[in-house]
């Protein structure tokens, strides 16, 4: 009895964690290249969820189409945000783009509030699939779907970054923008592409979480966004496998922690964040950087 409950919680944690990982990837990719915390990422996630919701409820599209629509919409939004709010500030000090990002986030959140109203909307899944029963471990169809899609996207991203030319350009740009530029890499395009991919993953996470909790609302991005960021820091910001691991660990920590202190569920992530920042500020898989004097 104890074990089946425990495993059920582990499955819950991994499911939640895989969505955090998807969100964390968006943060980590952007941070890796621009050293910017893209505060608007949580709203990109929320927008992805709403586009998916519209696709399912208004246009009666199947789930797969809704997922793709959510990703495409989020992707476009991410690219536009970068062009409008971050690109003009690329040469400014560190604080200006951060505040601009917060501005975009507030704007999108409240625009959604005006357009959609504050109440949460039901997000029907609109699909049918079998679950998985492994004796004491039970995985619901929805959880299985979320896990499979997340893993598929993460493997795809890994392939993209390690094996393709644009991936190589992204890695080069993250290491050294000036040199990458001298090597003939068009860094504006690489940065746009990074936002596109990161935002698409965030949008996918939005749709998946919306379906998982059967709900979407304009403020839904706030906590998952912050937690996605925590996951990115946990794994070592700028580090892509780190973001995946960080997301899963955070999801597990949160679900298992909530068993004992449910009212402090949202505080767990921040406690984890502060602990990691204090004891290993570069994250679990981050590398050490020393300031050049």
């Amino acid at each position: 009895m104890f074990f089946s409950q425990f495993f059920a919680q582990v499955v819950n944690g991994l499911t939640l964690g895989s969505t955090y990982a998807l969100i964390a990837l968006g943060y980590t990719m952007v941070y890796g290249i621009l050293e910017l915390i893209n505060f608007a990422h949580s709203e990109i996630y929320m927008t992805g969820a709403f586009i998916g919701l519209m696709a399912v409820t208004v246009y009666k599209l199947p789930f797969a189409a809704a997922l793709l629509a959510g990703m495409a919409g989020a992707c476009m939004l991410g690219v536009i945000i970068e062009k409008v709010a971050y690109r003009p500030l690329r040469k400014a000090n560190r604080i200006a783009p951060l505040i601009s990002a917060i501005g975009v986030s507030i704007f999108l959140q409240n625009a959604a509030l005006l357009a959609m109203g504050p109440q949460a909307r039901a997000f029907p899944a609109n699909f049918s699939a079998p679950g998985l029963n492994l004796g004491i471990i039970q995985i619901s169809p929805l959880q299985l779907l979320i896990l499979i899609i997340s893993i598929f996207l993460m493997v795809g991203l890994h392939f993209l970054i390690q094996k393709t030319k644009i991936g190589q350009a992204m890695r080069a740009t993250a290491q050294d923008k000036e040199t990458a530029q001298l090597m003939g890499i068009k860094i504006d395009r690489v940065i746009s592409f990074t936002f596109a991919i990161g935002s698409a993953l965030g949008g996918a996470a939005g749709v998946l979480v919306g379906v998982y909790f059967n709900s979407a609302d304009p403020m839904m991005g706030f906590f998952p966004g912050l937690k996605g960021f925590v996951a990115a820091v946990l794994g070592g910001i700028g580090n892509i496998p780190g973001a995946m691991v960080g997301g899963l660990i955070l999801g597990l920590a949160e679900v298992l922690g909530a068993v004992y202190m449910s009212q402090y569920k949202d505080a767990i992530a921040f406690a984890v964040l502060i602990l990691i920042l204090l004891f290993k500020p570069t994250g679990l898989m981050g590398r050490r950087v020393q300031e050049k004097v």
Binding site: I37, A85, I102, Q109, Q263, F270, L278
Partner: protein, 287 residues
């Protein structure tokens, strides 16, 4: 009166973020600690208002110290996120404690704050802040913002001074919180959440980071403007937060140093008027 409270909040955050260069996204937390502590002391222990106000501010400063010790080793973005995290943890705690009334908050606070008290508080805060900024302590704050490593090489214990700035900022924010509680007579954890922190940050950024007059101006504008919009049309006031968001982005792109700033010289050079001015000076020099 709200303007006065917001001015105190803005100048105190400006001390931390503008002068010392430590971006904080949790300033409202200290306001909340001040508000709750002052209220609880006044309601439960019947401490006189002014004493409660000071106790609230001192408690906020103490929390500033406690939170500052671990987090101020972090830099830039990480510090911003850590302060945000602490703010959320604190809000979670306020929501769950019995003594703070949970999500219902605290009610039945007597209305004591009046225009004279607020004015006196604003004057005292700005006066003492100016004194600090003109002293060895304030100069050390600015040195840390300008170049932390060089500041250390000058013998400044940067960690201690950052914590000091944080604690002083928290103290002032605590005063603002106390004034707030005894003005609105009702407080709940959401008065002091992330959105309030952002609002204070907007005031500082709008006025100009690292400039006390700027913070005062920013606080005044962002307090009056929403009220003004509401009086013009209730529909527009719904767009207040949307407007905030756009304002932040546009501000960063067009005038990142804020309305008033001590780097206004750079702006002169880049603006149209500046160009004319520079050209005139150049012509004079040529003759």
């Amino acid at each position: 009166m709200v303007i006065g409270i917001n001015i105190i909040l803005a100048v105190s955050l400006n001390l931390v973020s503008g002068f010392t260069g430590q971006l904080s996204l949790g300033h409202a937390t200290f306001m909340g600690i001040g508000a709750y502590t002052a209220t609880l002391f006044a309601l439960k222990l019947h401490v006189p208002f002014l004493v409660a106000l000071i106790i609230g501010a001192a408690t906020a400063a103490f929390f500033g110290f406690i939170i500052g010790v671990p987090t101020l080793r972090l830099k830039g973005d990480y510090l911003a996120i850590a302060t945000l995290g602490f703010g959320e943890i604190m809000r979670n705690i306020l929501l769950n404690l019995k003594i703070t009334g949970g999500p219902m908050g605290l009610r039945g606070i007597p209305k004591i704050t009046n225009i004279y008290i607020v004015a006196a508080a604003v004057i005292l805060v700005i006066f003492s802040l100016n004194r600090i900024m003109n002293s060895r302590v304030g100069k050390s704050f600015i040195a840390i913002r300008e170049d932390e490593l060089a500041a250390e090489a000058m013998g400044i214990n940067t960690t201690n001074f950052k914590i000091l700035a944080f604690a002083i900022g928290a103290f002032y924010a605590g005063i603002a919180g106390g004034l707030f509680a005894f003005l609105f007579r009702y407080i709940n954890p959401n008065n002091f959440g992330f959105m309030k922190s952002i609002e204070i940050l907007c005031m500082v950024v709008l006025g100009g980071m690292g400039n006390t007059s700027g913070a005062v101006l920013g606080a005044t504008i962002l307090t009056i403007l929403p009220e003004f919009l509401r009086s013009v049309s209730p529909v527009i006031s719904q767009y207040r937060m949307v407007f905030y968001g756009i304002l932040l982005v546009v501000m960063m792109i067009v005038r990142p140093q804020g309305l008033l700033s001590d780097t206004s010289f750079d702006f002169l050079k880049s603006s149209v008027f500046g160009k004319i001015k520079v050209k005139k000076i150049a012509e004079k020099g040529g003759q």
